[in-house]
Symmetry: D2
Subunit: 336 residues, 4 copies
């Protein structure tokens, strides 16, 4: 931590700061510049930097160690590659996760999975617990939905992911799914993150609607600190002043994260845009920018879907898109 | 719901839309204008408007009924006034809630509450369960903290509020606190909101970091739909591009909410700004703009606080501020 | 325009609204629904919708005609393709505009243009007038810079674009450049837009830092209203709370604009990200999403550049990138 | 400037950075910490910090001197108080600037100014050049409008302010107005700022729609660098995701700016909210937070105003508001 003093700070001001940080368990190195005295505070303690900023004569306090460690490239130079059976995610391996917003019935899942499987998709998604803004809307099938998901996946030799909402649901999810998904609204549900750190299955962690990239990485750190090293990050759009799309998909998060973290980063174009006709161009953009995967909503009959039909692709359109995506991937030397 | 067709929409397009909405359970009224045909869809069903927007020839779909009802001024014209013992919140009664970020010990709470009580504060705050970004930071005293809070409050004849994190904690909170607080990160934790709708104690609901005012009202609707009509809304800053303050306190949310909802709206200047010296001016701004209350962090010894000391007021400074706030309130014909 | 009345609006309220809009020159069509009366206001007049919103009993006023006309797909169904000599921009023709931030000298431009020309670039960029945040920084060569730009372009048989800052500069620019560029800060300089509507050379219009897509289109409408139909729109990043990149490049603006407007939309990845190593991934994303072109900063010696060297590509890296972009374009059936 | 190296940076990396900054004209002080080597770069040169960030082994480059100097409290400790005849702005003197959006006619200005003058308002506002989003809307009376403004002001012994749009208009404005206003869209029109630095009349500088506080101060620095020390800053709302108000008025900008700058900061509640009924609460909030003034739209007949009638106060309502504001000011020990 570096403490920059005002150009007008007195000797006394400087001494008080030095005393303060020593008392908090840090070593202090004072270096006087032409304009500013800079105090380096060295130590491993946690401190709220605002406590120092409020001391007299302090201009600015600068944290120079990242708040996250385990998730950073400094800690681990090479890409994390997550392997589940014959599927790899990360490095040059792009993951395609597809399926409906919600598990509605065995037939719906079976029809959708069959189509997806024919295209070569190996990762199936589907929600079982749906928190909805209206208390009267369809709330998901619950555990029954997870069972259907598993059954259908087994039939087509696929892996499954579904969103876990609460700590108490984790054991149930472990029985049925291969990847546990944390939704955007739960990105900073630290109890949930801590519990997911203790399991040994991959976690798909979505960026919150107004979370910075640093905050996303800190949430991932929470999981890794518990010992679970298999985390897939997911960009799904941030809230901005532009309202022609539901959210603004932050494609630049892909290269930014890939530079500072070793974890795979995938993209959810369905929730980010909220409209079917924007899913294809944004999927292509994500792959071209180097994303490690996509999670796309596909429904066998979007017009009768109980949830998010408007942003779900028809299986036929998905097949065409997937084909184009494979060609794009080849250009940038990656593959699905 | 109004469906505006493109100026170039064909008869066939129009008929398809009419058929679609009838099939979804709505009545349709077609009205042809000079440029645009407008179709009014009348009915009580829930429908995803994007499903209609994707039909050919549709320019725009406009929802004309608010998504919230019980919380609106249309539903209830006069201000909701929440009464707990001799304390009133709402109407011309401004509430002052004060106390430390976290309950650290009996002595700390006792020392702080004594000072606050001397100033005439009747509502005491203090966190018992603290979700922290770092797993190594102080996580709160848990139920022990709630007990201390209750004991100290009883000693000084005060009421207490504390943040509840999970559905499972509700029964415990009901034993100790007078107002259950929902934090910004839980504003859309619909399971929690639903459960709080079933209790009969007031709920203090904070606006999410990037939540719109409409979303805040929809979350309040969730609680009211369950039968709990005692909700206090709380503005606590939104995330913007400006970073000289932690968040941007949206003072205009006060008059906006007071126009469209009957619920009281209070302001949290401590979390919004994150720095002690900004708490006073923003508290004054909130009261002058007509806020129904404030929730302010005060600590008997901020420099040794385990959490958020940098944004906590000294009891002495709080006393001066409270005095000024009372004078400001008088000018706008309200009172603490 | 549709005026939705409150469910509690009286007959008198409705009549007053009808009188008001008639007096403003509109026809009124009243249609009574179950909950709400809706008044359709038909006419060609300009009216500030807030004037109606303030009348008693009015719930909401909804504009149903777009504020822009000439730039919309409704006005012109097929893509606008801008032709300058042998270069086409729009439709399936992707434009590559490259060059340094600023024209520094003949030698610098000559060295850079030579490299670009070898790669097949036909459109050269370079600033002559540089508004800088510091009054002591390099302010550009002025007209001398435009002369160099023209001379070098002629040598390599290229076309040129440069940013015009003020109405008074337009005649000078017409002498030297093929495309006049309007910077993000001038997107709503209406005097400048009006004057550019009167010329007959293409205009490259950049989206403002916090401009909505609708505002960008309205600015383009300003130019088209003057009779100049050759406008190239440019997405260059918007301001959000994320600060790991200078701005957030809104890639979804590409498909959004292509659906509602016939004008070509290109992307500036250099200014959006502000860092060299993010330019390649974001360029690829833009092309994959269907952008009609790119404008990229390339400098023959970035480390000695007088301006924005940090976001300028080396000619060698640009050549590799351009090659990849051509392959990506092929996949989505477009070409440079 | 401090350059923080990665924990894994090599000796060679460090030496290259030292060479680089020396070559750019800085002195280098290397200080090796436990985790990180920090290099202090001391000197007066201007350098793009991204150029250093791109060097191998560099983790972060931190600017420790503010980009602005003359406008800062460090440069001048006491409040700047601007005096024009018998009017003072700054310190404990709150300024009230009021008047219509646009000068429409002599009679309109006379009627409005008469009412304002009766309330004790000494500063009259009115636009003469109106850049409008629609080319068909009223564009202002031009110089004729300035003449009317001056004439009416003289009749009632008032001072006037009006918005200057271009460098070429400055001499004309100097003939008629007492304070030259720079609009939000021109906050970074550096040519205009530079020219305003050369005059000797006060400038009212509005914060851009998406400008940070730091950028606002840098624009003020531009004017001060030219020698004009009389600048009034103005907060007028920033663009956020909330759309129930036109913009989000950033009230916290008041105490933030007052801490770091000596210049007066006033607030424009009319443009920020865009609706008449929000002007009063936000004006009160601004004064209570310590603003040095307000600029409010008042029109003798808002319903027939050619521009922004919806956000203009009736003279009668203004009189009541002004009275309340005076009482609020007294509470915080300031006065109009």
């Amino acid at each position: 931590m570096l403490i920059v003093m005002n150009s007008q700070a007195s000797e006394e001001n400087i001494n008080k700061v030095v005393d303060f940080i020593k008392q908090k368990g840090f070593d202090a190195h004072v270096s006087k510049g032409e304009d500013h005295t800079v105090i380096g505070a060295v130590g491993r303690k946690v401190i709220d930097k605002r406590d120092i900023e409020l001391l007299d004569g302090v201009k600015e306090v600068i944290r120079i160690t990242s708040p996250y460690k385990l998730v950073s490239r400094v800690f681990k130079g090479e890409d994390t590659i997550i392997e589940i059976k014959d599927v790899k995610i990360g490095g040059n391996n792009i993951a395609m996760i597809a399926g409906p917003c919600t598990v509605e019935s065995y037939d719906q899942m079976d029809a959708t999975a069959e189509k997806l499987s024919e295209c070569g998709v190996k990762l199936l998604r589907g929600g079982a617990f749906k928190p909805r803004t209206s208390p009267y809307a369809f709330q998901g099938l619950g555990e029954e939905g997870l069972k259907i998901l598993r059954e259908v996946a087994n039939k087509y030799n696929m892996l499954v992911t579904s969103e876990v909402m609460e700590v108490s649901q984790i054991p149930m999810f472990l029985k049925y799914v291969d990847i546990l998904q944390v939704g955007a609204r739960n990105m900073q549900n630290f109890n949930l993150l801590k519990s997911l750190g203790e399991i040994r299955k991959p976690v798909l962690l979505k960026r919150g609607l107004s979370a910075t990239i640093e905050e996303l990485l800190m949430s991932a750190e929470y999981i890794m600190a518990g010992g679970n090293r298999e985390i897939i990050l997911c960009e799904r759009g941030i809230r901005t002043f532009e309202h022609m799309t539901r959210n603004t998909l932050d494609i630049s998060a892909i290269p930014v994260i890939q530079k500072i973290s070793h974890l795979p980063i995938i993209v959810d174009p369905s929730h980010a845009t909220g409209l079917r006709d924007k899913v294809a161009p944004m999927s292509k953009a994500a792959i071209a920018a180097g994303a490690d995967g996509l999670i796309i909503e596909v429904h066998n009959s979007p017009e009768t879907a109980l949830c998010d039909g408007a942003q779900s692709l028809y299986p036929h359109d998905f097949a065409i898109l997937f084909d184009e995506l494979k060609q794009l991937a080849k250009v940038i030397k990656k593959h699905f």
